[in-house]
Amino acid sequence: MNKVVPTADDAVVDIAPGSTIMLGGFGLCGIPENLIAALVKRRITGLHTISNNMGVDGFGMGLMLEAGMIASHIGSYVGENRRLEALVLKGELDLTLIPQGTLAERIRAGGAGIPAFYVPTGLGTVVAEGKETRKIGDRTYVLEQALHADVALIKAWKGDRLGNLVYRKTARNFNPAMAAAAKVTIAEVEVLVEPGELDPDHIVTPGIYVNRIVVGAAYRKPIESKFIQSGGAL
């Protein structure tokens, strides 16, 4: 069992135009930057992306947006991407904004075989419009559906050739849930280790969820708040 592929280009070579793709990360923290760069080289279009944010102008998913690859997006916050805001206001990109916790739980549900669940979040707001609500106990809840994807592109700190992954600090975020919710999960890591080197008690994503693993060729990891202040000049 060896899930290692040599390069990020190899890892994304068969992703089809029109695919639904989950991308891990919160802001620019814990994003699969090498896989995104490889995907941008392929310039496939009509992608349906699911990711908490949308990168920034000039980095991360912002590059996919600039290359015109994205047809629709589901996320919770896109405030740092001015290009997206313009596209949406012009009606050229189909944007669905949902609460961050509901997004995370819908992705988890997708991986966990739970097709739908109730949450209190968003009751009486636009996010509940058109959704079934239901009183359970003394509170009313909104029915939310699982999210699935064709491909998940995720980023971990260390991994082994069986696909076991560990994350570092707040770079964990959406990556583990997405690993389980896609038909094909591709993980990029900073460090590849031998099976057995990761303490089995510390593994966050068991290899069963990972189909391909690649060591990222280089990591820029800009800090978003500084990146934006400095106009992307990092």
């Binding site: 919160f26 802001g27 620019l28 923290c29 814990g30 908490n52 996320g75 919770s76 916050y77 896109v78 405030g79 740092e80 997206l84 805001e85 949406v88 206001l89 944007l95 904004l97 949902i98 609460p99 961050q100 916790g101 509901t102 997004l103 995370a104 739980e105 992705i107 988890r108 949450v119 209190p120 979040t121 968003g122 009751l123 009486g124 707001t125 636009v126 996010v127 700190w157 994350y167 570092r168 600090k169 707040t170 770079a171 964990r172 975020n173 959406f174 990556n175 583990p176 849930a177 966050v204 990891k221 800009p222 800090i223 978003e224 708040s225 500084k226």
Partner: protein
């Protein structure tokens, strides 16, 4: 003392030892600087951290260690990291003692609007809807009026809601207002202001608490 500092100092007095608190972006983040001595409060950041410390020096900033405002932070001893779905299980499950966030509008029903202006702003609600639906106590920390002098405390919110009947308290540089089933109740007013002056700056009808007192911002020691 600026108005924002007064708000931050006053809210910090509400903390009890052992509290778990989520601070929103902007003004609420300032509150972390005023936690009274002898009180341990664990701050949560919804991107997956409990036990958030102060901002680091520029040289020590770690791109893998940020808060929900995407700013670098540091670790406190006993902090922990977890995934997004765990973070919001914690929030939605009612484990946070307090969520403190900013607002564009709050109204007499405790409705909150703080995430969008239709046709103008496409940003997203981030974790705000989850926080107000899940925390045990939701405190709005904001300046009493807009820059144009318009009231932010309304009879009824006009912007799309973040949450329906979710706010427990509103704290501004002028006063403390409790949201009750009867309506908005003024419980504290800063020195140099009176009830009529606060009401004049407020669209919503303010009831006055029989225990109305002056807002004190010094830490209780």
């Amino acid at each position: 003392m600026t108005g924002k500092e007064r708000i931050a100092r006053r809210i910090a007095r509400e903390f009890h030892d052992g509290f778990y608190v989520n601070l929103g972006i902007g003004l609420p983040t300032m509150i972390a600087g005023y936690v009274p001595a002898g009180i341990d409060v664990m701050f949560q950041s919804e991107n997956g951290m409990l036990g958030v410390g102060e901002p680091p020096t520029d040289e020590c900033a770690d791109p893998d260690l940020i808060n929900a405002g995407k700013q670098p932070v540091t670790e406190l001893p006993g902090c922990s990291f977890f995934a997004s779905e765990e973070s919001f299980a914690m929030i939605r499950g009612g484990h946070m003692d307090m969520s403190i966030l900013g607002a564009m509008q709050v109204d007499e029903q405790g409705n909150l609007a703080n995430w969008t202006i239709p046709g103008k702003m496409v940003k997203g609600m981030g974790g705000a809807m989850d926080l107000v639906a899940g925390a045990r106590r939701v405190i709005v920390a904001m300046e009493h009026q807009t820059k144009d002098g318009a009231s932010r405390i309304l009879k009824e919110c006009t912007l799309p809601l973040t949450g329906q009947s979710v706010v427990h308290d509103i704290v501004t540089e002028l006063c403390w207002i409790r949201v009750t089933a009867e309506g908005l109740v003024l419980t504290e007013v800063v020195e140099g202001m009176n009830v009529a002056e606060v009401q004049a700056r407020t669209e919503a009808k303010l009831l006055v608490s029989p225990d109305l007192c002056v807002m004190t911002v010094d830490a209780l020691v």
